[in-house]
């Protein structure tokens, strides 16, 4: 009897820490599944240079791909542990809703109706995009309103399709909008002369431009007709997983704001006297554990992927063929719109 009681007591004692931990953390089936399978399932674009693009070796790169890598670094400590699922404009929602991917990171515009009716949540903004047009230089069109009467190629089901229709209808200008299933089909049709213009985001166009045969004969308009903030998307429910995605993005932006980058992150971790830097990199506090991650989660993100600015410059900025200036995608202290809540 005594022995049996002792065994039971020991078993209860053994279980206690586990029970205590479980009580602290809300259940997160997505995080558990990622840890069990050992990689993050990330929904990306079919192929958009600068954002999500696979080279001839099948290696993915781009600012949206970097975010997938950052999430993998935060959750699993290894940025390489990502499986990419390329999705078309139309496939992306079912792929996310059905649980086939853990998150979407594929230049998807945040809109009210998507948030309200698709069962998805947007976890912040990793790219401030604005819709514009690419036209042939010899057409003489300089601004969107010059396109009165033009045929415009677009991907069906994108925000661009509806924004363009609304914009020209409001100004009583007549355009013919030709909808294609994929961005690449629409670009090919524009290139073949079917349309006078192809419309997409300014950043997306900078990348897609290289798909045109005679790149020099085309110009991208600088005036935009929309605000298209884009960022990672998750399913509704599983709040802890949503927090991981949201704060990974915040962490990348915070790292840039605090001057932490992939080159100095070890030094910062060892020597920084800034309390927020110390909390961010897991030297102080137990922020990682609060989400069920290891405390050095943001350290791993910055070390392996870099801060937001590094990722931007490498993929779409001056260090890339796209050569996009930071513009709105600059820290608020430097005239941009990036602003992150504190790690406190």
């Amino acid at each position: 009897m005594f022995i049996r009681g002792a065994v039971l007591g020991a078993a209860v004692m053994g279980l206690l820490p586990a029970v205590a931990l479980a009580q602290q953390l809300a259940p997160s089936p997505t995080l558990d599944a990622i840890k069990a399978r050992g990689h993050v399932e990330c929904g990306v674009h079919l192929g958009l240079p600068g954002f999500s693009f696979a080279n001839d070796k099948g290696e993915w790169s781009g600012i949206d791909v970097d975010f997938c890598r950052a999430v993998a670094a935060a959750v699993l400590g290894d940025a390489g542990k990502v499986k990419y699922t390329p999705t078309s404009v139309q496939q992306r929602w079912p792929v996310l809703q059905s649980g086939q991917v853990d998150l979407l990171s594929r230049n998807t515009t945040i809109t009210f109706s998507r948030n309200a009716s698709l069962g998805v949540n947007f976890q912040g903004i990793n790219f401030y995009e604005g819709q514009t047009f690419v036209v042939r230089a010899k057409s003489g069109a300089k601004e969107p309103k010059d396109l009165d009467g033009a045929a415009i190629c677009v991907a069906a089901g994108s925000t661009e399709e509806k924004t363009a229709a609304d914009w020209y209808a409001e100004r009583k200008l007549k355009v013919t909008i030709v909808n294609f299933q994929k961005n690449d089909d629409a670009i090919a049709a524009y290139d073949a002369g079917r349309c006078d213009a192809y419309t997409a985001g300014l950043g997306a166009l900078a990348g897609q431009r290289i798909k045109l045969k005679q790149t020099g004969e085309h110009v991208i308009m600088t005036e935009t007709i929309s605000n298209d903030p884009q960022g990672p998307v998750t399913r509704q429910g599983d709040e802890r997983w949503q927090a991981v995605v949201r704060w990974t993005l915040n962490g990348m932006i915070a790292a840039e704001a605090l001057g932490v980058n992939s080159r100095n992150v070890d030094e910062m971790k060892a020597k920084s006297a800034n309390a927020e830097v110390r909390r961010l990199l897991g030297v102080e506090g137990n922020f990682g554990q609060l989400l069920g991650l290891s405390d050095d989660w943001i350290y791993q993100v910055v070390k392996q992927v870099g801060n937001y600015g590094e990722s931007y410059e490498r993929t779409v900025g001056m260090g890339s063929p796209l050569k996009l200036a930071r513009g709105k995608n600059e820290l608020w202290t430097k005239g941009g719109l990036l602003y992150t809540p504190p790690f406190q």
């Binding site: 809703q97 109706s113 698709l118 009165d148 229709a165």
Partner: protein, 384 residues
Amino acid sequence: MSAFVYNRRVRDAFWQVAVWAAVVGLIAYFVRNASENMAKAGIASGFDFLGRTSGIELPFLLTRYTPQSSILDLLWAGVVNTMTVAFIAIVAATLLGFALGIARLSRNWLLSSLAGGYVEVVRNIPVLFFVLFWYFAVIAALPGPREAIGIFAVAFLSNRGLTVPTPLATGAFAAAALASAISIAAQFVLAAWVRHRRNRTGRGFPLWTSGAVLIAGVPLVAFAAAIAATPWDTPVLRGFNYRGGFVLIPEFVALVAALATYAAAFIAEIVRGGILAVPKGQLEAARALGLGPGQVLRLVVIPQALRVMVPPLTSQYLNVLKNSSLGAAIGFPELMNVFVGSALNITGQAVEIIAITLAIYLVIGLAVSALMNWYNAKVALVTQ
């Protein structure tokens, strides 16, 4: 009691009811399961979205749809476009397929090998590739709008499509159609009277001349007058493109051409098989009766070959209908493109939209099947 259980009709009825109950139950289970899970995941469900404003621009319309119309109108515009493309492609594929099938059986070596080569090449190409090939071939072959090929300075052909004038009023055309109908009916009445008189008195009548006037001449003049009397919306080049008129977009031409030439290769083989299935003795007997080659084909071979050809032809027609969904790849606004493409993305209600689309393809497909089965019954050998 046991007599009741072993009664054959009772048992048949029992199994009928049981299978139906199982099918209905299974569907009800799936519907319930899906709607519960969607509600749990925060995804909107129901069919209310059909009444919402669509806001989608379509480049090719046969209905009165505008971007201010509802999503239901958008769906209908897509259905009409799908049926139009499928119908024209089916007619063209049948004509071309018959010609190819008969050519393949020709004794002329060049003709039969050309037809054979066509069939072998086309049958082994994936249909999507075929559609894209036609699309880019059509666009590449045509000049830009500024260098458009004018047809009598009223219609213009460019890579934006064939722009034709549209009548602004239809009254004159209705009058012309009525006049033509009366005129054609008059010729038939006249022919009946002439036959009657010839039988009685043996006197002839220049029926061919009256026919030329009544069947061809009067309608021609009537429609010419209607064309002249009607105000037209004539396309004019302004800025980027032609304004006004109706545009037959290149996507339409490419899709119809691709579907027709693709299905024609399969239909050619069905026609060849059907003709070869007619026993040789029938041909010899027909020739022995003194029928010419055309008569043998028309009166003996085709009626018997049709019995073999109709069932596989039905499958080909259904394939054309379903393959018309590839229009989505080249930007033709058919059902798949406007509904599963655009509408799905503005509403996000994948389950409802896919279900509606499936149901529509099923209804159109079953209608085609029913029509072909009716025709099959008509041409089938009547046996006792």
